[in-house]
Symmetry: C2
Subunit: 264 residues, 2 copies
């Protein structure tokens, strides 16, 4: 569990949790209360990578520049490490209540996590991806997979932070739109980087989607249109953020800009 | 997910949730509020069987008389079905709040589940079992594995039902002792049935522990001593139950007696 958690990565999702909490409340204590949830979402993301890398799934040997979990500990331990991280994420969420979140808020976050990381969310996107494999041909199907495989955890991160920050229902709605579009832009940028990125910066082999004959946005609509779409989705995300009328939106805007321009 | 959930089984854990709720409160409504949690623990138990049966783990072809999940849907889908069930269990727990459990109680149950089903609980027991394999020699190690692999979910079931029923802290403590001993007796009886049980009644091949050279209670202390231990643990469990001074303990006593005498 620790091996994969400590392998690094951008920590995008935890940063979104903390930044969303701060953006709504302008209160450093909200960030502290949100910290266990920031940890929880990184555990969920990490477990999904461990299981995704297994021979029966994507069969990857490297992740974040290090051998994948099952390469080091064997498949049985990798499956269990994933199960352990997934389960412990929910424990982490309950810890926010010990730091000052109301039981109602903590329970709403448990409910969000169980849906957005579960069969109606990330696990469903993963299953659609596996079942589709080379068969995915329509843009709708690909969007479905990207929205659930990637956006749903981004949506969770932003919503959970916003809940801790005390967001109103209309703020929650705008922030959900922000996160959905940000997550989709992020995944399309991932598709792009897999084609034209720098292997050393990415920490994993490029062109893997091509090798595995995975259908991606660049494959379906071309590179130029994909880059334009990332830009458009980012602008729409930032507009939704404006509509949320947050106390301190700057960091979330900066994250959206950074993700659009990232090279890894 | 549905294939394995509907494969049947004794439904012991959900029955314990409902019976514990009723035993404490003498109130049929407590049983209704406990129902989503009864479903949750069956989802957790089922996910653990799906992952446990995988080729990288115990590599079993049959479970409850039917082909195992990965035999029907492939390994990738079996891993994801397990992940989906595990995640959805936490959603189910949150539903108890919609039926009348307080957010505090629902959150305490989320916390219990995340620990007793996670790395400090069932997943840890599973990992110790995998790492130990033929190497487990001491009774202490075997007890550790059994307590976590099996007892922890039994403890969760009884505690969750008791919490919904409104148990006092001293009642919770006695009921935890009851569940721990019941769970251990249950697992030793499983070891015994694997040696002398009826394949048709069990729905799986007997003597699999011998074939896999697994160390069991009968192997370590002999058949007669194992049978005596099941009886002693059951009596101690029932005594702890008496100490809880429950409003309606009869069904829990009956379950303890049934489990000791079961042939599958």
């Amino acid at each position: 569990m620790m091996y994969s958690l400590e392998a690094g990565g951008k920590r995008l999702r935890p940063i979104l949790v903390l930044s969303a909490a701060e953006a709504v409340s302008r209160n450093a204590n909200a960030r502290n209360i949100a910290m266990p949830i920031a940890c929880a979402i990184e555990m969920i993301h990490t477990y999904s990578l461990i299981h995704d890398d297994l021979p029966a799934m994507d069969n990857d040997d490297y992740r974040r520049g290090k051998p994948t979990n099952h390469k080091v500990y064997g498949e049985a331990m990798a499956i269990l490490a994933g199960d352990g991280l997934l389960t412990h994420a929910f424990y982490a969420v309950t810890r926010s209540a010990a730091l000052g979140a109301t039981p109602e808020t903590a329970l709403a976050i448990v409910s969000d996590l169980s849906r957005l990381a579960g069969a109606p969310g990330m696990v469903g996107g993963q299953a659609a991806d596996m079942l589709g494999e080379q068969g995915v041909t329509s843009l709708e199907e690909l969007e479905y997979i990207h929205l659930h495989k990637t956006s749903d955890l981004v949506v969770f991160s932003v919503l959970a932070g916003a809940r801790i920050g005390g967001a109103s229902p209309t703020q929650l709605e705008s922030m959900q739109t922000f996160a959905r579009k940000l997550g989709l832009a992020f995944q399309i940028q991932d598709d792009i980087l897999d084609l034209i990125g720098d292997e050393a910066k990415l920490g994993k082999p490029v062109q893997s989607d091509v090798e595995e004959q995975k259908v991606t946005y660049p494959y379906l609509i071309g590179m130029e249109a994909s880059e334009k779409l990332v830009e458009r989705l980012t602008q729409e995300a930032k507009q939704a953020l404006e509509e949320a009328k947050l106390a301190m939106p700057d960091r979330l805007h900066a994250i959206a800009d950074y993700l659009m321009r990232r090279d890894h």
